[in-house]
Symmetry: C2
Subunit: 288 residues, 2 copies
């Protein structure tokens, strides 16, 4: 299949690689062209000078960029994907954005008889590199069915959540749940330290029961050690929580703890932790 990938960041770079390895005829575009050059050195495929040029002739065009504004530019801009893609094509946006922009793009794509799926992912850089992402999709059933087998080459699970925007909304649910888990785990480990307990022994004891979580299993050690130079950055988490809180102002959801944790992440940023992993919430807890 003729595919294109726009945005070769830490996520997009390996995802586009899996498309090429699966035998698809891939054209890539990246704002900083050096990365696209590096990509075509390492993979079968070619690069284009604009998103529109990358999209020309493609069956499916993927994008994975930074935020709503970036998505607007690479899809709806003058030289954007929608300007280049042909009737019957599909755009799959893997960026985590607002549901609002997903709906806007879906409507504009439909005018051109182009399909659109909002398809944010979870699993982070490690998941992208292993081709084991979880993909939450919003859009039309028939478009989903055509795109899913292609997305599959870098996914461990692909779920059609509902109509356009639903992928983004599901991703927000994911981030809200993580905010609570990480803050609870942070306070628990901080309490253990203040109480003079051996955290390893405590975690060994409680990690099979009702307090268990992925974060506990995979992050307790680095949290105790104060190692945060890896993983999903606080800046990105704040972007995602900001989107969720914005959406909540529209749909009426009461997200008190999420708001609070968002402010805690702002404190971590102020401590110089913008690039630290999401688990760095524990870093701001101080023995008083």
């Amino acid at each position: 299949m003729r595919v294109s990938f726009v945005g070769l960041g830490v996520m997009g770079y390996p995802m586009a690689g899996y498309l090429a390895k699966a035998g698809h005829d891939a054209v890539v575009y990246n704002r900083t062209s050096a990365k696209a050059e590096k990509w075509i050195d390492e993979h079968d495929g070619s690069s284009a000078l604009t998103p529109a040029a990358a999209a020309a002739g493609a069956d499916i065009v993927f994008s994975c960029v930074g935020n709503d504004d970036d998505v607007r530019e690479v899809i709806l801009g003058t030289d954007g994907i929608l300007a280049g893609i042909e009737r019957g094509g599909i755009i799959v946006d893997h960026t985590t954005t607002s549901a609002t922009i997903s709906r806007e793009i879906h409507a504009k794509a439909a005018e051109k008889a182009v399909g659109f799926l909002d398809a944010p992912v979870s699993g982070g850089q490690a998941g992208a590199e292993a081709g084991q992402l979880t993909v939450m999709v919003g859009g039309d059933q028939d478009v989903f069915e055509r795109a899913a087998p292609v997305i599959d080459c870098y996914a461990k699970a692909i779920t059609l959540i509902g109509p356009v925007g639903s992928g983004q909304l599901a991703k927000m649910v994911n981030q809200i749940c993580i905010a609570g888990v990480v803050q609870g785990l942070s306070e628990g480990l901080h309490f253990a330290r203040c109480a003079g307990l051996d955290s390893a022994v405590v975690i060994e004891s409680i990690s099979k029961g009702a307090a268990q979580s992925w974060q506990m299993e995979n992050r307790w050690q680095t949290m105790v050690d104060g190692e945060f130079e890896f993983g999903f950055a606080v800046d990105w988490m704040r972007k995602d929580l900001g989107i969720a809180l914005d959406e909540a102002r529209h749909n009426g959801a009461q997200l008190e703890m999420t708001e609070l944790v968002d402010r805690y992440y702002a404190e971590v940023q102020a401590m110089g932790g913008s690039r630290w992993d999401t688990s760095s919430l524990i870093a701001r807890l101080k023995k008083v």
Copy 2:
């Protein structure tokens, strides 16, 4: 072995049963004697009229009662366990209490050459009935080694966390972590509802990744359905969080979210949810 069990509540009743089934010579005591009568009807064993009488001649005396005051009464009271137990005996308290009272009892028991372990459990009523509790123990290594094989008959895991009080402190870590997980999950599911998503599909999609938790896997459905008439009661959770917050005032731990969730549980109590499961935090979230 000659064992005694003081406190035949929803936890103690089946725990004492497992001791009898394991072939130990068991004497039970309960404040409301009807429950002790029922217990001896159903098990091999006998009952005593006071904790002291139950403890007389026992190698190990177990207690599982309500709170610090109850523990003080059944262990240190005039007719309490310590008044009846002989030199060389061991007291194992399964109640969730402050670490302070555990240390006080440990010191008083030591004066009488009696061992003491604080050994709160997790796993709830279902875990007690299945003989699959997680036991977090504080105390002396040699006392732990003598008691652990007996505790084993109703446990799936027994961990010596550290010196006396450490079992209680580990249980507090457990409850603090749960507070964060449940509040995050509540806000996530509430957001999903306000956003018009199908929660089952969202959970299916996100429950294998970084947002995963025991609470998500085991409680999402009942939370969405508003079913709370089961499980670990809000009243007990508030008791445990109160102990944790008290302890934090002494050890200097900063537990902002735990304090907040404790207040949220107070709101659930005010809604009539005192006996509802801990997962009922979602019940107070309203679409605004």
